[in-house]
Amino acid sequence: MKETIERHPHDVLVVGAGGAGLRAAIEAADQGASVGLVCKSLLGKAHTVMAEGGVAAALAHVAPADSWQVHFRDTMVGGKLLNNPRMAELHAQEAPDRVRELERWGAVFDRTADGRILQRPFGGHSHPRLAHVGDRTGLEMIRTLQDRAVGAGIAVYMECTISHLLTQPDRVTGAFGYWRATGRPVVFPAKTIVLATGGVGRAYQVSSNSWEYSGDGHALACLAGAELLDMEFVQFHPTGMVWPPGVKGLLVTEAVRGEGGILRNKDGERFMWKYLPEDRRHEYAATDEEATTWVEAQSAARSTDARRPPELSTRDNVSRAIYTEVREGRGTEHGGVFLDISYLPAEHVRRKLPSMYEQFKELADVDITTGPMEVGPTTHYIMGGIRVDADTGATTRQGLFAAGEVAGGMHGANRLGGNSLSDLLVFGQRTGAGAAAAAAAAPELRHIDPIQVREAERDLSAPFDRPGRADPHRLHEELQSTMQSQVGIFRTEADLEEAIRRIGDLRSRWPDIGISGGRPYNPGWDLVFEVRNMLIVSEAIARSALQRRESRGAHSRLDYTEPDPAWARLNSVVRLADDGLEVTTASVPELPDELRPLIETE
């Protein structure tokens, strides 16, 4: 019965083939490393394809006044200054080069009248800044990177799930997983590993995320001894579909509001006027007329002195506004609010928002050129993630790197729309370089501990030995319901403590999970390890949220409704301890003197 496990050694192993993983793999290969790229799905299907609105970069093609300094400031202000300032600085400085590089590699962005890359406005950005392709920017990005990676000869291992990281006391040494098509185990010895596994949205009931988003990288890093940062900051995107039930949570791009979409409650009131934070009100239009002037200028791609509409407030704020309207009885029949773009010419709407037009027509029988959409908040993104070094993507565990959504620090307490695609590119490139350099400095592949491989194999096969016991689907549903109702947009101490208790209960039932059927392509079996990962991540979120006794950015406490100056300069840190997850704090890295003037006024 004993057989040798398939092995694929590489200098750099990248786990995850979305924007960050692909960009990291390309960079590491360019630096001369032997690179393996592992992904749970087929190549080109990663969650990046779902990104719609655009990639933020201060190209200053539409607004000449834009610059990396303004982008840096917007990012820090949007993140309530909890961002790692070095990450925000590198991001703002390097995003334009990364976007131009995509164009050099064949990406075809929409154009300005003078033939350059067009940029659209988005919430929280001072200027039109998002390079885009209609509302399918993520697809353009992933296809461009995919073609580049394939052209570079990178070894791609598709539909392969990494379930365990292999370690020595001083560093990570490789990864263990299985081929989904056959269920057979596989080992990837590697000098360095880049985690680029995306987010955690599947832990919630209502989410815009695909099934892959089960917090795999967060959990693997945590189990391997790396630290997680700011896990309480989960972004609830203001506009997901709410009807019909089968599509609840599906994303409605912020580009709808960028193009002029108006939010109204069931009484027809444009409610966002009520929710603009006082200290930012001067950045927004004062009247409907001014907002309309801005939209008209926008549609014609000309500059204007009019200020942006209130709908383009930051995502955390718009989500809370919609949630509050619905809770106070001013929601639509299906528990959402109206988002209306139908006052613009139908042809314009179809050209600028083609996939939204299709999505509503085909899935909800709504023509968005003639009537409003119904929308409500949906779990979309996690600002928190693995704690990394800004310049190289190195985690706190030797040999382990992270980039993209799975990494923390860049976005602080709230991410601006469009900053995640640029994050993937900037830190994908930097982390690929960092991992390749560390691999080059490591003399040879380290010994893979056979005991760890045997234990991992035992973990994989164990669920088949207990068919009929706990069902992974039920555990998953219970977790989703807990996270949705108790660790959602508004939180309280009592809810969070109850959630932690329930997650603990689920964790104690996890080893009982039993699976029927065989190993080949068995989604129930896939779910066993995804539930393990989601339980770890969910507990990290709930414990961090309990610790932060204030409201800031995307983290809103009903029992501590205001920001607390004592928390203003503290990040949350989660690590694995002997008796479970341990939550502490760390100081936000100091703002360097030369950047201080950029946000001094805040």
């Binding site: 154009r111 697809l139 009807w243």
Partner: protein
């Protein structure tokens, strides 16, 4: 609550496979993929289905629904008459992995061999300018989500399970997106003719009909590429012109020909 009767292919390579009936409670707006997920969560946890986004953006969940290639995430149960069984089978043009999942790796091989995007070495990027209307056709091709439904429906590919002489509609679309890119300088004509087997397409437009992105595959991608190949290899005037200028018909155009139509 009304129920839908799903008839789902279950099987593995080497076994004959069979259709299994599942009754699924129907909620408003439900799509076939929702019904398959309900089956996984309640009746058959090991039912193999490939999917990712459930938003018609990733192209993973293609299958044959009542014999027609479709994205299951976009196919609503309300499209079928009540009481009518909904048969869901894997895409037939590719080898079976399990149940509704097929091995599409051949497509990735075909893609890898297409000559990549090649911008002009002597045109700095700062000087690149093009108008929106110049790229609308290329953007149409780049909408492709690689669901491979067009490959599945293509009778050339269906009729040649192995040793396929034809790259298929998906990759003609990709090649067209590269060929019509305003900054591309590579020449793919011989690749399209020989390895790509573009001549095998006899323009039945089945691919266009099944495309969930509504790309006019035949009219906008394949026919213009066929014309390029015909101009190069079969147009007697062009052949004579090339001979006159001392080049054989099998070589690509020199740089001064540019990226001729």
């Amino acid at each position: 609550m009304p129920e839908a009767q799903l008839r789902v292919f279950r099987g593995s390579p080497g076994s004959s496979g069979r259709l299994v009936d599942y009754d699924v409670p129907v909620e408003e707006g439900m799509v076939v993929l929702d019904a398959l997920h309900w089956v996984q969560a309640h009746l058959a946890p090991d039912l193999a289905v490939r999917w990712n986004c459930k938003a018609a953006k990733c192209g993973s969940c293609g299958a044959e629904v009542n014999g027609r290639p479709r994205l299951t995430c976009k196919t609503r149960l309300s499209d079928f008459a009540e009481g009518e069984p909904i048969t869901v089978e894997p895409m037939r043009a590719f080898p079976l992995v399990k149940d509704l999942v097929v091995d599409v790796s051949w497509n990735y091989e075909v893609n890898r061999r297409i000559p990549p995007f090649q911008p002009p070495p002597d045109r700095p990027q700062e000087t690149w300018r093009w108008q929106q209307e110049d790229i609308e056709r290329v953007q149409e091709f780049r909408k492709c989500i690689e669901c491979f439904l067009c490959q599945d429906v293509c009778h050339v590919l269906r009729n040649h399970e192995t040793e396929r002489p034809f790259m298929g509609p998906r990759f003609l679309v990709r090649a067209a997106g590269l060929e019509m890119h305003p900054m591309d300088t590579a020449d793919r004509t011989s690749h399209l003719k020989d390895e790509g087997g573009i001549g095998f397409c006899n323009i039945t437009k089945c691919c266009t009909e099944v495309c969930p992105e509504h790309i006019k595959i035949t009219d906008n991608a394949i026919i213009p590429l066929k014309e390029r190949v015909a101009d190069r290899y079969y147009d007697p005037i062009q052949i004579a012109w090339r001979k006159l200028r001392g080049r054989g018909s099998e070589t690509g155009p020199a740089a001064d020909d540019g990226n001729a139509p």
